[in-house]
Symmetry: C2
Subunit: 386 residues, 2 copies
């Protein structure tokens, strides 16, 4: 059964001390209802993505759906590390595609600024193989991606300025996106001279964590055609996993779960990378965007740096990537990120993106690529318009 995106909503990402997690989720939910013309009574299921270790409620899916007026709709909380939002999209999709309901919501939310930074970093840092890598070697998240960055540099001659160029692009588009957190333009020099975090990654190579929410309403084809004149169809889905322990990976210059998940999604959609008008990739660190170019087949392995050097991933380039600012400029409220990607692609395919950052839509497809951990999991979703 074909399933379409019929409603989207996005809360402002940032330090949202003005709201609690339930209120933050409601902001996105409300906008998705307004966008679709639907109400809570139309929902058949709600997949809530949130890691939820950063705030007081131990059953956040329950308080979030209760506060959002969704009782007695069935719900689940799902987690696939930083890919949780896409996991929610997949769960809502399968709920509809299997015929269990006609309409379902994927609701991603995270509130991470209530705990102090060392706690947050420890919690994220533990997102490897805790007993082996964290407890013994003290590896935290920037360290993991620094290993991948130095691996890529050693293998392909990638330069620190290539990494920096990704940050420059994404900050540029963040400055044009009303929902983004970081809105200032930066330069390659600024990135290179920002404080080192874990060589070769500097402060401005890292995405910020913050608070945010995004909601996506999915409907069966029959319902979707009644709800909207511009349904955006889910055409391909893929997901794969890998080892928690990074030293068990095949190499340190690619993410295998990305490659596998993208391959599945392309096959299901019956298209290839050249059919995409735009891509959202998981740029938790600048190196992650370059890895994603290659792993998702936007260019051959090792040629990611060329893509950013040539400006091919700008909105008017050959294959626009992260034209909303990416995780780098929007920030990365973990559970919300995957849903935020679907929000952006839907807006672009509908032709609703802001001036100066709207891509040319002629092929009619967009792809969201969402990595959990350092490739512990990857979820890929391909969307297409009629």
């Amino acid at each position: 059964m074909r399933v379409g995106v019929v409603g989207i909503g996005h809360a402002k990402f940032g330090n949202r001390t003005d709201v609690n997690v339930n209120e933050l989720a409601w902001e996105a939910q409300k906008l998705a209802y307004e966008d679709s013309g639907l109400t809570q009574d139309d929902m058949g299921f709600c997949a809530v993505s949130t890691l939820g270790t950063w705030y007081e409620e131990s059953l956040p899916a329950v308080t979030i759906t209760e506060y959002g007026g969704m009782v007695p709709v069935g719900h689940v909380r799902c987690e696939s590390a930083c890919a949780a939002g896409s996991a929610a999209i997949h769960i809502a999709y399968t709920r509809v595609a299997s015929g269990l309901c006609d309409i379902a919501m994927a609701l991603g939310v995270e509130k991470m600024t209530e705990v102090d930074t060392p706690t947050t970093v420890e919690l994220i840092g533990r997102s490897g193989s805790y007993m082996w890598e964290f407890e013994n070697f003290g590896l935290t998240f920037p360290g993991y991606y620094a290993l991948l960055a130095s691996g890529h540099m050693a293998r392909f001659g990638t330069g620190e300025e290539d990494l920096a160029a990704v940050a420059v692009k994404n900050h540029h588009y963040g400055s044009l996106n009303k929902n983004a957190y970081l809105k200032r333009e930066i330069t390659v020099e600024k990135v290179l001279s920002s404080p080192p975090i874990a060589w070769p990654l500097k402060f401005l190579d890292c995405c910020p964590i913050n608070d945010g929410a995004a909601a996506v309403i999915l409907a069966s084809e029959e319902k979707a055609r009644k709800i909207t004149d511009t349904p955006i169809w889910i055409e391909g889905l893929g997901t794969a996993g890998d080892t928690a322990n990074i030293c068990n990976r095949e190499d340190l210059y690619s993410i295998r779960s990305s490659t596998l998940a993208a391959k599945q999604a392309y096959e299901m959609a019956g298209i290839g990378p050249r059919d995409l008008d735009l891509v959202e990739v998981h740029d938790c660190f600048t190196i992650a965007e370059i890895l994603a170019y290659e792993d998702a087949g936007l260019c051959p392995k090792g040629e990611g740096p060329r893509l950013i050097r040539e400006g091919q991933t700008y909105h008017d380039g050959d294959i626009p990537v992260n034209i909303d600012g990416g995780l780098k400029a929007k920030g990365h409220p973990i559970g919300a990120t995957g849903c935020s990607m679907i929000y952006e692609i839907t807006r672009q395919l509908r032709g609703e993106a802001e001036k100066g950052r709207s891509v040319k839509v002629d092929k009619g497809y967009g792809m969201a690529h969402n990595v959990g951990g350092t490739g512990h999991s990857c979820y890929v979703t391909i969307l297409g318009r009629d």
Copy 2:
């Protein structure tokens, strides 16, 4: 698309200090592979249910699937409080029924004995509306169910000995189940004289928390018929939610999400309560089993106590319930419980249950009823044999 259970595995529930969470999950997984003749290479997806706040790994789905040899299979962790196991069953079902894969596993596991009891109780106690009920009134889980028990007593004249009778039945069947934790028979007098926890609930009215795992492999009809001669079909599914805040409920002598979820499942399966050969219900406290009799339509509202008084829910009664000992005697390793219920119903419908506790299967249907929190969510699954 029809989806069938083709493999089941169950680890021994108890104080499993002999294994870590990955090893515990593997015990159940391995038995499910052996039961089905399948291997990790056959799996298309794995839904892992675990609350996972009680052990060190912050991304348990990743380490569990890696340890189980399942890399690079895609996975998600899901949580719907104590109904997490059934949420995993539903997610694995929809993954197959939507055509995304042919075979998927639901893998429930929890390791709760590594943290000290007050911590566990606090974490479970928070499974209400934290800011209102826990922080202000100090309500913990036995307190919530004590409210429901005293509400039922006030409304229907239910007696403390009716509650005790549930414990007696479930301990009896636990003594016959090799995977159960508590294997001693008890008497009504023993329950009534056990230490009060939250009136009217005594120590022996409460289920123990412990460590455990259970695995269920699901397959599309086409695959299922090739894998096994005794596929057990998933015929009906239902799920509903309710308020986190118990004082916002309509009454305190029923669980609305149970009623709604059961109704959905009956409708999908095209059967009613009289067509069931056996039922697994969520007896986290003895009162919860009586509520479940009524909410799931096994008897009219208020007549639950009669059912247990007359012995109708024993294995040779009119409608056998929790013939494996239930949460009360098996224990309740949260993420595992829902999968354990499907394990038991599958065994009974296949005719594989131990002597002295095997039910007469003539109608061919069984039902699993799994409550999250105090009815924050409920998942119901109806299984049927050919």
